[in-house]
């Protein structure tokens, strides 16, 4: 299995990672369906995390991630390596998530959403509840929850294209090139979306930024 190699791949950079991707895709396209299990192991966390960040809802993220992997299984035979495999996956995630967000927006156009409305993460808890609490004081835990909540509220106010770019860059650590490929835009557009998104976030999170330290 690739569990060991994944760590190696991550440690030794993108090139190695891409090689693993290419070999897995080749195996799958040659008829070895077990390669898909390795692809799943390699990407399940990133796909789920990205979906979760974009949608802000655990169940929706789970549903979307499943949808993405089913699509992947179906379409993988037709993958022609014109783009990098991982950015191809991210593109599927982002496109599906944006479609859902657009659908929600249409459905909720006439509803008023309170700024206090929490995005639901798990059983009605905020994302802050998932913070590791063992090394934190109750104050720090509460503080972390509040800051995470404010960040997600502010992100939800951004236009979808800026939100996707910021999440991919600042929260998931993608390179600009990866973002550009996944969103199918050029590098300049990626940077301008991120810059504009950050400015907007800065405005919404002005008070948080003055006091906050990394969570």
């Amino acid at each position: 299995m690739y569990g060991h190699e994944i760590t190696l791949a991550e440690n030794s950079g993108n090139a190695k990672h891409d090689d693993v991707d290419i070999s897995l895709v080749a195996r799958f396209q040659a008829g070895d369906t077990t390669a898909f299990e390795d692809i799943f192991t390699l990407y399940k966390d990133t796909v789920f995390r990205l979906a979760f960040r974009l949608l802000g809802d655990r169940e929706e993220a789970l549903d979307l991630s499943q949808d993405v992997f089913l699509t992947l299984y179906k379409e993988l035979r037709r993958f022609r390596r014109s783009s990098r495999f991982k950015t191809w996956i991210y593109r599927i995630v982002v496109n599906r998530a944006l479609n859902r967000l657009r659908l929600w927006k249409r459905q909720r156009r006439h509803q008023t959403i309170s700024l206090d409305a929490l995005p639901k993460y798990h059983k009605g808890e905020s994302i802050g509840a998932s913070l590791p609490a063992a090394d934190r004081s109750p104050y720090e835990t509460l503080y972390g929850q509040d800051v995470a909540r404010r960040i997600h509220q502010a992100l939800a106010l951004l236009p979808m294209d800026q939100r996707a770019a910021i999440i991919m860059r600042d929260m998931e650590g993608f390179s600009y090139e990866e973002i550009a490929e996944a969103l199918e835009i050029n590098l300049g557009t990626v940077k301008s979306r991120i810059a504009r998104g950050r400015e907007e976030l800065r405005r919404h999170l002005h008070d948080v930024l003055r006091t906050a330290c990394p969570l």
Binding site: F40, K44, R53, L62, L131, P132, I151, D170, A212, L215
Partner: protein, 251 residues
């Protein structure tokens, strides 16, 4: 270099990916512009803060969920599909406890028996219609009723065959009319049945006091389906006599 340029290059400034010459220009500007310094500081802090927001891992059952979805949608062979269908059908039975299963096993034959009994009853009533007060003789020649209540064709009795009426509604009507309304040979009609099984009153031989009985009978005969007589294996037009309150069984 002005503040607008700083805004445009802010991603590169934060990443430290500016060319040496550009970096020098930026530094020169920042040395004199507090607003841009503040903006870069806040952007950096924002970026760090966003990067530190924790996310979630998928639940442990996620892999099973996806692989099962794939199994169901793409990987199944015909054999697996049939097996799964069989399991889906049998599984609910497995879920039943023994008591439910016993009730099911007992009630099934009872339901079947009831169905058969009702079916046989209908069949028997059709068969018995020859013996419950009707003259039901069929011939492919017009029949003549003779005073003894028998029917005779122009060729004599040998050419006349007893037959049941295959219309329960008609039988029920005639039976009830025979019991309550008619007296003696109050109603004796000759019914014509064509080879397709459609009947009509050919001739009214005895007239009932109550005309509504005759009208009703006419309607029922017109809507009933009869078994056409056969001669040499071929369907032929035929006649039968139908009488109320008579018990005559040929032979």
């Amino acid at each position: 270099m002005d503040c607008k340029s700083i805004e445009a290059w802010i991603c590169d400034i934060l990443d430290g990916s500016l060319a040496e010459r550009d970096a020098r220009m930026v530094n020169d500007h920042l040395a004199t512009c507090a607003a841009c310094r503040y903006r870069i500081q806040e952007n950096r802090r924002l970026s760090d803060l966003l990067g530190s927001v924790p996310s979630m891992s998928p639940p442990p059952y996620f892999e099973r969920l996806v692989m099962r979805g794939i199994e169901r949608r793409y990987r199944r062979s015909w054999r697996e599909t049939l097996q799964s269908f069989y399991e889906d059908m049998v599984h609910p039975l497995r879920m039943l406890d023994r008591r439910d299963l016993l009730i099911g096993l007992v009630s099934l034959p009872i339901a079947l028996g009831l169905f058969l009994a009702i079916f046989c009853h209908i069949q028997l009533s059709i068969f018995n219609s020859q013996q419950v007060g009707l003259l039901t003789f069929v011939s492919d020649k017009p029949l003549v009723a003779i005073p003894s209540g028998e029917a005779r064709s122009e060729e004599g009795n040998d050419a006349v065959t007893p037959v049941g009426i295959s219309s329960p509604a008609l039988i029920r009507f005639v039976e009830s009319a025979a019991k309550t309304e008619a007296k003696g040979d109050d109603l004796l009609v000759m019914v014509y049945v064509n080879q397709y099984g459609t009947g009509s009153i050919e001739q009214v031989i005895e007239y009932p006091n109550d005309h509504s009985i005759l009208n009703k009978l006419n309607t029922l005969i017109a809507s009933a389906k009869f078994r056409p007589a056969r001669r040499n294996g071929k369907r032929v037009d035929s006649y039968f006599l139908l009488a109320l309150n008579q018990v005559h069984v040929l032979g």
